[in-house]
Structure formats: C-alpha cells, structure tokens
Symmetry: C3
Subunit: 322 residues, 3 copies
Amino acid sequence: MKFEQPVALKEIARLINARLVGNTEAYATGINEIHMVEEGDLVFVDHPKYYETCIKSAASFIIINKETDFPEGKALLVTDEPFEAYLKIVEQYRPFKPSMDLVAASAVVGEGSVVMPNVYLGNNVVIGKNCVIYPNVTILDHCVIGDYVIIQSGTVIGGDAFYYNKKTNREIHYKKMTSCGRVVIKDFVEIGAGCTIDRGVTGDTVIGEGTKIDNQVHIGHDTVVGRNCLFAAQVGIAGAVVIEDEVILWGQVGISKTLTIGKGAVINAQSGVPSSLDGGKIYFGTPALEARTKVKELAWIKRIPEMWDKLKALSSGTVNEK
Amino acid sequence: MKFEQPVALKEIARLINARLVGNTEAYATGINEIHMVEEGDLVFVDHPKYYETCIKSAASFIIINKETDFPEGKALLVTDEPFEAYLKIVEQYRPFKPSMDLVAASAVVGEGSVVMPNVYLGNNVVIGKNCVIYPNVTILDHCVIGDYVIIQSGTVIGGDAFYYNKKTNREIHYKKMTSCGRVVIKDFVEIGAGCTIDRGVTGDTVIGEGTKIDNQVHIGHDTVVGRNCLFAAQVGIAGAVVIEDEVILWGQVGISKTLTIGKGAVINAQSGVPSSLDGGKIYFGTPALEARTKVKELAWIKRIPEMWDKLKALSSGTVNEK
Amino acid sequence: MKFEQPVALKEIARLINARLVGNTEAYATGINEIHMVEEGDLVFVDHPKYYETCIKSAASFIIINKETDFPEGKALLVTDEPFEAYLKIVEQYRPFKPSMDLVAASAVVGEGSVVMPNVYLGNNVVIGKNCVIYPNVTILDHCVIGDYVIIQSGTVIGGDAFYYNKKTNREIHYKKMTSCGRVVIKDFVEIGAGCTIDRGVTGDTVIGEGTKIDNQVHIGHDTVVGRNCLFAAQVGIAGAVVIEDEVILWGQVGISKTLTIGKGAVINAQSGVPSSLDGGKIYFGTPALEARTKVKELAWIKRIPEMWDKLKALSSGTVNEK
C-alpha cells in the first residue's frame, strides 16, 4: 500500500521502536511485501534466508531484525520483530475503521449502475458506470470496480488474505498479517454468485478486462488475472498467481500459489496444478499434464492387465507371439 | 421463455430489423434456445452447422443470418446478428427491472412459510406453503419454490446462466447471453447453505420432489434434477444436465455439461464425470468408471513394481517361477 | 442436547406415546445420538443391528421399537417409530422459534467485538470479546463464538446437519432429522468468506483454538477440529470427523465422514481421504496415500511404456540388456 502522503523514516522508526541506519532523512511512500515493492517503499524481513533479496529489492527501506550491509541511499530500520512492525505501521497508516452503514459515505457508485438491496459497500469503494451489483454482495474497503461489471449475489470482494506468520513456539501458532491491499476489477468483468476474491496483502488482486467467472470461484490474495479469461464454477486459485490472457479453467480446477499460467492455456475440469504451465496448450489431471500425455497415460494404465498376462506367459516359457 | 401473450412476427421482425420470410402472419408464443424449443417458439442460430437442427426443430420461427429452405408453415427472420436479435427480444419482452425492495411487491409467500431476515425475494417469486427460508438467502426474479421447502442461509436461487457468445475478433471476447429462464424447486426439497442454482437461459432449471442438497453445491442453468436425489457438499453440476431420480452424488463430485446420469446411479466422492452414465451402478474416479473397475485399476497400479521385477528377472535370463 | 432442566421419563413417554419399561421414575437430562450420549441421556434406535450398542451405551434411556433385555437402572421407551419420537422431543424441548430480528434479543456480543451491517445473530448466540464479524455473516441459534475470532463475509455458522432418515417405501425417501446441536468456535479462530459450518445433530461441532480457515470451506455436523489447524480454500470435511491439532489441509481436500486425522498430518491439495490417517505424515492423492508412496506410484505409471517395450522385446526373443 501507499501512504496518503510520504512519511518521514524517523517517524516510522519511532513508531516501531527501531534503530535507523543509513539514509535517516528519507521519506517512505508506502510499505509492501517483497513481491510487490517499488522504490520509496518499506519492506520487512525477519529471516536471514531472505535478507539479501529484500536489501537488493526495489524497496528503499528495510525493516530487519539484524544490522547488515546495504546499498548507499537505502536505510535499515533494525528491530527484533519486523512482522510486528509491519502490523503497527498498517494499524497507524491504514487503520481498520469499518463503516457501519450498508453503503459507506465514502463509497462512489457510477452513473447507470444498479446496486440492489442488501449490498455492502465499504469505505472508499469505487464502482464504475453501468454495473449491476446483485443482492447480498459484499465489497469491502478500498476495492475498485470498473464499468459494465456484473457481480452476482452472495459474492465477497476484498476479504482478507489468508496469510499468516507461523511460529510454533507461540501458543497460537498462526498470527494474521493484516491485509491492506485492494481488489481491482476491470471493465466488462462478470462474476458469478457465491464467489470470493481476496484483497492483496499489501498490493492489488486484479481481474482483467472482459474476464468471466462462474459461481463459487475462489481467487486468492495478490493474484493477477488477465483479459478475456473464462473460469467455470468452483475453480480455486491460490495467492499470488499470474493467469495470463485468454486462459480457460474448467470446473473445480485448483491452482497452487505463486504460479504462472501462460496465455491461452486451457485446463480441463478437476485438474490440479502444482507448477507453472506454458500457454497455448490443453492440460488435464492432478498433477496436471498436457491433455494428450494424460490421455495416453490413462490408456497405458488400462493395459497393465494385458502386460501381466504377457509376463506370466513369458515366465512360464510360453512366448506370446501376439 | 413464453411471452405474456402471443406477439405478431411482424412486430418482432420490426424490432430486430429482420426480413420476414414464410408464414408472415403468424404469432410467436415465446423464444427459446434450441434445447428448449416448443411449437410456436422462436429460435435463433448464426452458424451453418446448426441451421438444419434449428429449422427442423419444434420451433416455428427461426431467427437466422442466411435465407435457407424451410418447411411450410414456418417462417424465417433473416438478420445479420441472430444473437443480438435474441438479446433485443428479451430486453423488450422480459426487461431487467430489478426490485429494489427486500421482498418484491409481486412476490408471493404461501401460508405457514417463514421468510427470515435479510432474505431477498425478486419480482414474481412464488414461495409455497410451510417453507423455511433462512437469513441472507437470495431468490431472484420469476423463481418458483414449492411446499415444505427448506433453503439455508447464503444460498442464491436464480443467478444468471454462465452462458456467453464467444467471438475472438471482438476486444471483449465473451458477450453475455441474457438469461430469461427460471429456477423451479419442487415440494419437499431441502437446500443447504451457500449453494448456487442458476436460472435456465430460456427454460427452467428444475429440482425434483424430495431431493436433498448439502452445502456449497452448484447447479448450472437448465439442469433438471429428478426426485429423491441426494447431493453431498461441494458437488458441482454444469449446465443442461439431466440427473434422473434417486441419484446420489457424494462430496465434491463434478458433472460436465449436457450429460445424463441414469436413475439410481451413485457417484463416489471427488469423481469427475465427462460423459453420461447408466443408472443403477456405483462409479468412482476422474474420469469416472464403474467403482469395481476403478478399484481393480488401482490394484493393478500397485503391482507395477512387481511386474518391473519380473521383467528384470526375465531380461537377465532368470525366469521367475513364482 | 441437554434439556433446560431434567424431564420425567413418564412425561416423555406420554409425549411420544411409548410404553415405559424399567426405571420408570427416572428423569432424563437430554437426548443425543448414539455417538454423543452421556449418562442421563435418552438415545433412539430402530434397527436391531444397533440395539446392543445403544442399550450398552452411556445413555440411560433407550427409545426403541422392540422390547429387549437391558441393564438394571436403565429404561426402555418402546414405540413403533423411534425417529419420529426423537423429532417430537426436539420439537417440544427445543422448538424452532426463529428470531425475526437481525440480532436476536437473546444474542450476546462481548466487549470490543465489531458486528458489521447485515449480520444475522440468532437466538442465544454468544459472541466473545474483540471479535470482528464481517457483513452478511449468518450465525444461527445457540452457536457460541470465543474471543478474538474473525469471521469473514458470507459465512454461515450453524446451518442444519445434512442428516436424513432414509426409507425408500415413502414417497419422499429422505426425512430430515432435526438438528438441535450447536457450533462452538474457540478463541483466536479465523474463518474466511463463504464458509459453512453446520451445527451438530444433537451435539457440538467444534473448531479448536487458533485454527485458521480460508474461504469456501465446508465443515459438516459434529466434526471436531483441534487447535492450530490450517485449512486452505474449498476444503470439504464431512460429518462427525475428528481432526486433531496442527493438521494442515491444502486447497480442495475432501475428508469423508466419521474419520480421524492424526495430529500434525499434512494433506496436499485436492486429495480425497476415505479412511483415517495417522498423524505426523504428509499425504496426497485420491484415495490419499503417504505422499512419498504416491510420488513413487506416479513415477511407476510413467514407466509403463518402457515396460511395454521390454516385454515386446522379450516376446520377440530380443532380450533387452539395458
């Protein structure tokens, strides 16, 4: 997320009780996870394994639990608990102040759009022109909906990321990393009933122009979906996935986190995708293979009994000349 | 869908700017997709591959993009864009006029039925006697619910069909085909929480008497489910499927579109069904096979290492006499 | 369920028109299914196969359709239709009296908790301290939510069990067994959007402390989930399952009814679990196997063509010496 206006590093260091090293006079423009950082951003890290990635990333300022070398012009904010620091910063600069109205005063609905009864629109929600938002839809704070978008009943846009900091030495192992990102839905997108599209942790979950989504589809935090995609019912896409343009996912397909599915890929129903897939091909199975490979595999499996018979014949000396 | 009263073909031809050929004095009683047409109906077709099916169907009047031979007594409405013509006709004769009340003035609720808080009932919804509709249920325009029906919270009845006209030469590839059909739920049906049952595109999606549906089940447009079926949680059924009486689908089963599942079939959990299945049998797997076949297949797979060992022995000249 | 105060067996026998045999002067403290019974409870049984289990169970009083031997101190309530008797008792002692307010007068919300717009809280619902209940959540009668619990939009807590008495000689084969149990959510639990957690039939569905649940997860009646579990999106867990502490279920996993999943088990995405699993291991596949076994199996399947070639070579007398 970006701050409403740049914030002095010294102010942030004081807030999170960190020792400031390096470019102490700088101003931060926002705070983001390592996958989402831009110049001017803060990033946070508590594991030596990720120190270098964070220090060399686009982020200008690193909240870290150990002083380390870093490039000229950047700064470290050294504190024992970088994740706690992240939570404090979000709490301070994007506090949770839920609107208790069905349509928040700060929500904007464009001309020609129909918002039906029992729809919740949170703070700073923007809905474009000529949309239809069906009853019992929930659109949470800061989400942005384009023009000519249809969202059917029961769908939830902008739920929190399923994103936790795990430490088994705490009584409660998982600690929620507050989401401060958004969902951005582009023009001509249609979303079915009973879907859930989570906000980014610090960045945006994006659904590209003209993409059509059937009922009961789940899309995780920070996932970016391209243009003119088609997702059938009960598809599940985990967090931080990239789905390129014109991808078709048939019913009940599951996609694991942080993958890329290439342009125009078609994934048949119920497939499970554990790794990135090239575009322009048809896939099937769990784990998903190219459909023609999978079809051959299924045919081979059916021939096992025949192979067994051949083996028996060979073992007994009767060579099967078939 | 049927028109409220028969409409002169000439009026329709004028509306959609079509050239009228044949029985020009006739009246149309409704408009339907090819799977749903009856005598007196209009049908629409833009691909030569389907011309003959449409012209020979029960439909009396064909909206088509090329003049073709047709039987005596029928009529053609020739226009470049039959799908656009369909959309215009629906817009004219069943316009989208969403009720902005939680319970539409035209909705009817039968004696003894309980409609709990935050339920949305759209225009012309009919609810029978002695039903319970739990909080946060959405029932959209024209849907019909029988007697002694229970619908649990969060469920959406009558969402739009996931049904698009695709042309990749448009910037937005998929164009929504407006749904004007209904959902019809028969007596003694029970529907769990978080389910979605889509309306027919032009016809009815039907759930037969006494069928019981668990939570988070999706049922697509125009699907017709028989009597006394049982669907466990997270089952997904695509569009235009026929499920005969007494079918049991266990959890997370997926059924592809336009199939028929025969009476009394039982499909085990997580199975994926790509083609029609005979009744009276038990199925399992993706693609679903008869369960006993699938069980044997799984057993054969486990014997591959043993076969490998036999092969090695044979290759090295040591015949395994086991 | 427990009665508000103990009820004389004679009063119950009169209500259900049963013949009372044995300890006729006793008082019952509640009525429960066989899996849930405690001393002082009534239980009900109509099939000789389960007579002995019920009579020897912790239950003190047995509603049964045939007089049978039973231990000293217990009592039988003999009636033709024990399931009907169950329904009558629930109707009498825990009648369905739905609150027609969004927040029932008897619902209690603890200090520091935020209940957002359009949330339904049923009769006797208890919400602890410092919770956030997002818009369009439904929490039905008698459910109990701990402290620091987050429940996201569209989720339904306390829907009825998917639990029927089946008799194919009735026109309507399935007859609902009224649920009178609860859902109990412990402290620090977080539940995503669009989830459904059903109440126990007569007992409690429980989610243990610190467990985190992603979107569109279904949890069936009477299932008991331990502490610090993690369930990813679209997981489905059937009824009466025991999930021990620290279990991780990845996306779209399905668990069949009445199983036990041992402490610390990890089940990979899309796996289907038909039988209980030991703790401390990683599983994958449908049916789920230990992941390393499944990985080997997949590798063996890929070697079938190679085996076929070897077999062909052997059959033709050309021994492959590879």
